[in-house]
């Protein structure tokens, strides 16, 4: 049931997309709108990957490295 809700949400979102011209991208091009984990956020992603059993899904760290301390 939950997966149907997620798929439905993604369908609604993708169907409601509107065309954005290059000169209309002032908000989208803002640094804070960047996808992923830009700037100073990267370091925390790697710490969290060690202190929790889970990682990945758009975070910068998925595997590799010890983290055994």
């Amino acid at each position: 049931m939950r997966s149907y809700i997620v798929i439905g949400f993604l369908l609604i979102v993708s169907l409601s997309c509107e065309s954005v011209k290059p000169y209309q991208r002032v908000y989208l091009n803002d640094y804070e709108m960047k996808p992923g984990q830009p700037g100073s956020r990267k370091f925390e992603e790697s710490v969290q990957a060690y202190r929790e059993g889970s990682s990945g899904g758009g975070s910068s760290k998925t595997s590799g490295g010890c983290g055994c301390n």
């Binding site: 509107e18 908000y27 925390e44 710490v47 990945g56 301390n69």
Partner: protein
């Protein structure tokens, strides 16, 4: 009659008029841009659940991390990437591997270097990238290779990416001690047994990225991934105490499959507020499944100053192989007392201040200075503080025609 003379006069004068001279001094310049990012971080944590001492004992840890990253964009098609960093790790728990001698790992160094190249394929909007690197610390040597593919559609409203990454690790101790790997290091009282006959760990991951512009103020990113690990997934100096008072080295299965999916929705609200929202679901075959929610609100105080607050919540159902100190049954095949793999809830919050003047000084541009503080707490009692300073610069260089 008068009007006719005026028109003829204007037409005649237009014949004598001269447009832009053909020998204009204007020339199209080819520029190479290099962006440099410096990240300096400090991390401190403490708790009494160290896996080195079987789920009890100090976890006091400090990490000073510095990383320099450079991206050189030669032209519109070719780009080079280089990053290098050093982490200075001061860990009280690893000193308890041998209890008596202050081991080399009490103050450890982790050095990592990566270099990559990416090229936009001719007459397409597809970029192919390659990256390789390594990281080394006293008990770990990891070699990484990666291949990525990135495609943008004509209107730049949709991006698709796929990244393949491998990590080939060697868990033998000693590289930073005398330059060559020696052997797996076990807790001092368990060194009469060879607990593992292999010392390599391999990780293979595929990460997909789907980015969609929804409207002028909103974008959506979906990031599913698969990671497969094989080899020695246990940490050889982690102790496990059983309920019959016996003691062994941690033992985990030799294969692990991880399936994460992350969804990020970024929204510009009004003219000053930005909301970054992120959700991740994670599953693996160790029995861990987790939900993570991250919300970050930024306020553009002025065009140069941005202040942000963030809040992150992580709920994790722990591994089937985890039990606390002296709770494991000796008949179990796989066992660990590492609280990183336990059922837990973590909470993180903090602030970021960003100053981005994009001030030009000759050929260089001071892009941004960022300060970030985060407080992190875990439901088993672990408390941590993270401080990060980020500096961004870029340099232009005129290329020969």
């Amino acid at each position: 009659m008068k009007k006719r003379y005026v028109i003829i006069g204007l037409l005649a004068s237009s014949l004598a008029s001269v447009g832009q001279p053909s020998n204009s001094t204007y020339k199209k310049k080819k520029l190479s841009t290099t962006s440099v990012e410096l990240v300096m971080s400090y991390y401190t944590q403490d708790n009494e659940h160290s896996a080195v001492t079987g789920g009890i004992g100090t976890e006091d840890l400090q990490v000073y991390a510095t990383q320099l990253a450079m991206d050189v964009r030669r032209d519109s098609s070719n780009a080079f990437h280089f990053d290098a960093g050093v982490d200075v790790i001061s860990s009280a728990s690893t000193d308890n591997i041998d209890f008596v001698i202050s081991s080399a790992s009490k103050v450890d160094l982790r050095t990592h270097i990566n270099a990559g190249y990416s090229r936009r394929l001719k007459d397409t909007r597809t970029t192919v990238g390659l990256i390789s690197g390594f990281s080394i610390e006293s008990d770990f040597f990891s070699v990484a290779h990666g291949l990525s593919l990135h495609h943008v559609n004509a209107s730049q409203s949709r991006e698709l990416s796929i990244a393949l990454q491998t990590y080939l690790d060697d868990l033998r101790w000693g590289r930073l001690h005398d330059g060559k790997p020696e052997e797996l290091i076990y807790p001092v009282e368990l060194r009469d047994t060879v607990w593992f006959d292999h010392y390599r760990r391999s990780s293979y991951s595929v990460e997909f990225g789907f980015y969609q512009v929804i409207n002028r103020r909103m974008s959506l990113g979906i990031y599913p991934g698969i990671t497969y690990q094989s080899g020695l997934l246990s940490t050889p100096f982690h102790r496990v105490y059983f309920n019959d008072e016996s003691l062994r080295v941690e033992n985990l299965p030799g294969r692990r499959l991880k399936l994460p999916i992350g969804i990020q929705l970024n929204t510009f609200l009004g003219g000053r507020w930005i909301l970054r929202s992120y959700y991740r679901f994670y599953w693996d075959n160790f029995g861990i499944n987790a939900h993570t929610l991250n919300l970050e609100t930024s306020l553009k105080v002025t065009p140069m100053f941005t202040a942000s607050t963030f809040f992150r919540l992580h709920e994790q159902h722990g591994s089937d192989y985890f039990r606390p100190y002296k709770d494991h049954d000796p008949s179990e095949v796989y066992y660990t007392s590492d609280y990183d793999l336990s059922s837990l809830t973590t909470f993180k919050s903090g602030v970021t201040i960003r100053y981005a003047p994009y001030r030009r000084m000759g050929r260089s541009t001071f892009e941004a200075l960022e300060f970030r503080y985060a407080f992190y707490s875990r439901s088993d009692g672990l408390k941590a503080h993270m401080i990060t300073l980020f500096l961004g610069y870029s340099f232009d260089k005129k290329l020969k025609e």
